[in-house]
Structure formats: structure tokens, C-alpha cells
Amino acid sequence: MEKLSGSEMVVRSLEDEGVEFIFGYPGGAVLHIYDALFKSKKIPHILVRHEQAATHAADGYARATGKPGVVLVTSGPGATNAITGVATAYMDSIPMVVLSGQVATHLIGEDAFQETDMIGVSRPIVKHSFQVRHAEDIPITIKKAFHIASTGRPGPVVIDIPKDLTKPEDLFEYSYPKSVKMRSYSPASRGHLGQIKKASRLLLGAKRPVIYAGGGVILGRSSDLLKELAEYLNFPVTNTLMGLGSFPASSAQFLGMLGMHGFYEANMAMHNSDVILAIGVRFDDRVTNSVDKFCPGAQIIHIDIDPASISKTVTADVPIVGEVRTVLVEILKQLKEETDKNSCSARKGSLDDWWHQIEMWRKENGLWTDRRYPNSDQIMPQQVIECLNRVTGSDAFVTSDVGQHQMFAAQYYRFDKANRWINSGGLGTMGFGLPAAMGVQLAFPNEIVVCVTGEGSIQMNIQELSTCTQYNLPIKIVNLRNNYLGMVRQWQDMQYEGRHAMSTYEDSLPDFTKLVSSYGHVGFEIKELSDLEDIMEEAFSIKDKLVFLDIFVDPAEHVYPMHVAPNGAMNDMWLSKSKRT
């Protein structure tokens, strides 16, 4: 059997696992590993400028490809810098393996230089973690980490490796395990057949149904089945922020996003529904508004791979624990059997009233049916996203940061495919967008990758412009510049009588076009609406360079609809600054 050092085993295990990229940053505790990586040359390593960006880039890669992202950082500050990205991945159930260096075994616990208890620090934000105790355990630990990260409800796994275990002079027999079995880890696969039958009958009897589909459909690679099911039943579909793209936005059955900044028609349909089919969602507080008032007339079928997500905030009438794919296949089978048996061809017609009602809502206040934002002599942020949607033919990978621009992108970009909308939904991490876009662009070098951001968020990881130069990543950055922390300002307008406490940078913002050009990128400023489409077309025609579009938008604009929170129901919304439901 082949003999390798600990550090060689780390690198070889990652190669044998099929890892395509490592995002990382070297430092003392991982130098043996970096040396082994340097010698092997098989897996490209992306040197970021801050470890947070390494985790976000790995996260973006994972969201776009469905494969686990891989991060390598050193001990102490390297590990703690990575934490925000680990928490981001944890909240959105993104598969990720983070290898962190650790001080040598004999120094652990002695407050050694660059020592941090990474296992302890990361404990509440990982799916699982390992500290390797013996070098010979490295291959099996890495195998287990990838297995845990990518199966069941995915999530980040940390492997902490003390430096002495990676010494080049100590050699061990190496073989990479083909599979792994853990007695304490066996995620659910098939749903309970009795529950599936119950769900199917409920679906067939529904008068005012809605399908509420989330990130779990994307993680479970089941958008094809979601579409088949929705079309078979002729049910309307709404997506969560995380679920956008799991159902084609171009379908007439699509109601748009639901929740705090959800579409009027989506929130109204939910509130008035009699049956909700919830798939891969978690009834998050940004969706439900007040749980006590949530969809009073609805019976809820909830499909999720994680039993702890079911009945956590809203009680499910028909809980189904299982992989979304296997469950949807079963449901479709049951539905077809039931309909054949009862030959209910009148099924589709029976939803006419419901669809008529939905069309009324769309007509009244639908987000896409009419211009839902005010006329202004300035560029409106919504117009920018609509323009982006046109210029990129609804087919770009769009990452975003967090704030108003994120909501505008979620509302106005029309995602037809899964894995294209990449944002920090659960944790709401500003600074996510640019590094995430790097991970996406590396995975898909020939696709259009856009980062929609604001001048607050982009400055949280703006150092990554340098990484983009080093690896030639032609990302397009769309900066909705309003000179405020826009979402903070919106809340201050609505709840603090317009006192804009510390939500503006006054005159301290850089000239972004000059800034990006100093990195070798291209920058354009857009201040006039008449220039918007032309300059955007020009930006996207530059295929080989990063282009930064600094677009000056109306600073006073708010995101609507907006739930009347915290004590409102799904249908309690502000529709504009003056209009409430």
C-alpha cells in the first residue's frame, strides 16, 4: 500500500473525493498541507483576500453546482474569519467542508500562538465537526465529512487538523474509503406511504390550493418534479426567497415570491388558501409574519427531509419526512392512481373560481402586471433589475448581497432555472455577493454571473476585486447606489419617524469606477435613466473583464409590498408608502 504523510493524505483524499476547487488562505498551521497541495498541482486553489470570502466563494460554488464547496484556512484568525461564511452556509443548508489548521497537539489548550478552539467556536453553526486525533484517521474523517455535508439536509462540516499530524516526515498507509457507514447518522429517504396517500387525497379535494416551495426543492434537485406536479394539478406556486428558480418564473402558474416582501398575489393566495403543499421550506418568520394569524383556513401538508423543520413554528396537518424527490415521485404516482380510479377529469375545472380570484389579485396589485413603483426623475432600483433581466435574457447566475437590492433582485429578476439565484437568505450576510459570484464564475466560466449589490454590502468584501483580477473572473457587478444603507433607512422611515441614525456614509464613498480600474477592471457610472440600457448592454458585451456598474438610484425608494409586522397576518401588507391592505 502507498505511504503518504498526513498532509499528502489531506490533499489526496480531496482529489479522490473529486474536489474541483479549494478556496483558502495559507498560514502557519496549514503550511504542510499547502506544500503538499503545491506539489500535487491537481486541484486549483483560489487565494482569496480574507477567509470570509473563501467560505462565501465555496458557498456560491456549492449553490450553483450542488456539490460541496471546500475551504482551507489556518488556525486562529484564519478559522475565526471563516466563521461568518460557515454560519451563512449553515442557515441555508449548503454543503461545505471547511478544513482548518490547528496548533500542534501538545500545544492545544495552552493559548498557543494563533490558537482558537475552532470546534467550540463553530459548534452551533455546523452540521458536524471533527478534530483529527491521529494522522491515520485523515482519509476516513474527510470521507465522513463529505458524506455528512452532502446528504440528508446538507450543511457545513468542519475538520480541524493539528499541525503535527501533517508533518511531511511521518508516513502512513493510504487508501481512500469508497463508502462510509455511521450508526448514528442515517437521513430519511422515503416518505411514509400512509401520509403520502393522505396528502394526495387532500390535494385532489382542494378548492383553493397553493404550493409553497423553497430551497429544499433546489437542494433536492427536484424542480422538474415540482413543475410536473404543479401542472398536473393546475395549482398556483409561490417560492420562498431561497426557492426562487425552483419553479419557472415564466409560468402562468407562478405567483412570485411570498413573505415579508412577497408578491401581493402570493401572500393573498396563501392567506386565503384551504390547502397548502409546503415543499422544502421551514415556515421562517420572514415568510409567515405572525404565526398565530398564519393562513387560518389552510390545511398544511409539509414535506421536508429534516423532521425538526416540521411543526417547528407552524403545525403541519400532514407531515411527510423524506427526500423531496422520492416523496414527489410517490405523490405523483398516488395522484394518478386516484384520478384514474375516480376518473375525475373535472378536476382542473374545479379550480376556475380560485384562478379567477388570483387573476383579480394580480390585476389589482400584481408586481409584474403593472408598474408598481412611482415615477421619478431619478433611476428607480426596480428599473435597474428589470433592465438587467432583459439584457441577460432571464438566464444569468445572479448573486446578491443583503438589503433592498436583494429584495428588488428577488422580485424583479425572473428566474426560470434552479441554482441561478444565489443569496444569503437565512443569515442575511452582507458581503456575500461578490465572493459567492467568484465561486459561481469559477464553476461556470462561460456563463454570465452578476452580483447585484449596494454600496454598503459591496464594501464588506470589496478586497475580493483583487482575487477577481488574479483569476480573471469577468463578473458583472450591479451596484444599486443610493448613498444609504437602504433597508436600514427604510425601517427608520417607517418605524423611527425618518431619523436616519448612522445609515449614511455622507461623502465618504469612493469613486468606484476609479477603484475598480486600479485593479484592472472596468467601471461605469450611470446617472441618467436614458443611459441605463445602453451602458448595461455595453457592460455585458465585455466578456473577458469584470465590469462594475455604479448606478445612482432614487435613495428614497422603499421595497414594497411589505408585511405589516410583527403582529400582522400574511395578507397585512403595505403596498406603497401610503397604501395598506
Binding site: R183, A308, S311, K312
Partner: protein, 163 residues
């Protein structure tokens, strides 16, 4: 409602901190906690008591089950079970109280396991309630120190918690 949850846990470093961390992270309370190895050296058995409504307990057991180190768990209070807490109490005893304390210890079926000139150490096994009533019977002013193991529990009959 008070619940007793018994957990079989991989006997691995860090496993206990994941369980305890889960409780503080999600705002659940732990009344007592007891953990020790089992007949299988790769497994620890952890028993904890907690108070919560049905919904909270359901979440606690689901979240515990999600921990990769948790092999199996059972809510003992769902069925017929035995629970025991072990207590060591150091009691100050003047000459005139010794007889009375000895009688009380006998009534509670405890044992005096150490005797000093003015000190008794009493060992008592039972449910939490029984131990509480013993302390009440002795009177707080005489009790110098209390060490309790926390509840250990097991279900009655054929039901077995095993990997």
C-alpha cells in the same frame, strides 16, 4: 411538564458539549444532567431532565436526534420507568441532634457513610422529590453541603434503549 430524556451518545470528545450547547443555543432548559459510560465503551448514556410543553419537548428530541453523535434517545416519561438520583449530604450534628438525624436517615432509607466529631455524611438514593423532602426534614440550617448526581433513568419491562 417535566420530562426525562435518555440519550445514547458516541463516546467521543466533544459529544457532550454538542448536547449541552444545543440546549443553551435554542433556549431550552436543563434541570439535571447525568452522563457516564455504558457496558459498551464506545457509548455514553446521558440522562437529562427538562421542563417544557409538548411542542418544546418534540423540538428538543428532534434537534437532539439531528446531532450526529446521538445514536438513539428516548423520552422515558412517555412510558413506565424508574428514575433515581443519588445524593451525598454533609450535615452538622451536635450531640443532641444525632439520634434525631439518624432516625430521619432511616425513615428515608439512607445511609450514614461518614462520621466526624460534628459531621455526618448521608447517602440517599431516590427520586428527586424524595431527596428534596429529606433536605426539608433535616432543615436547611443543619445542611452544609449537597452533591447530587442528577437523575438516571431506565424504562420498565422489555423496552430497551440500545444501539
Amino acid at each position: 411538564m417535566r420530562r426525562i430524556v435518555s440519550v445514547l451518545l458516541e463516546n467521543e470528545p466533544g459529544a457532550l458539549s454538542r448536547v449541552v450547547g444545543l440546549f443553551s443555543q435554542r433556549g431550552y432548559n436543563i434541570e439535571t444532567l447525568n452522563v457516564a459510560p455504558t457496558e459498551d465503551p464506545t457509548l455514553s448514556r446521558l440522562t437529562l431532565t427538562t421542563i417544557g410543553d409538548d411542542k418544546t419537548i418534540e423540538q428538543i428530541t428532534k434537534q437532539l436526534n439531528k446531532l450526529v453523535d446521538v445514536v438513539k434517545l428516548v423520552d422515558l416519561t412517555e412510558g413506565s420507568h424508574l428514575e433515581r438520583d443519588l445524593m451525598l449530604v454533609k450535615i452538622r450534628t451536635g450531640a443532641e441532634q444525632r439520634e434525631e438525624i439518624k432516625r430521619t436517615v432511616d425513615i428515608f432509607r439512607g445511609q450514614i457513610v461518614d462520621v466526624g466529631p460534628e459531621i455526618y455524611i448521608v447517602q440517599l438514593v431516590g427520586t428527586g422529590d424524595k431527596l428534596d423532602s429529606f433536605i426539608a426534614a433535616i432543615g436547611c440550617s443543619e445542611v452544609l453541603e449537597v452533591a447530587r448526581s442528577g437523575v438516571a433513568g431506565i424504562s420498565r419491562g422489555e423496552k430497551i434503549l440500545s444501539a
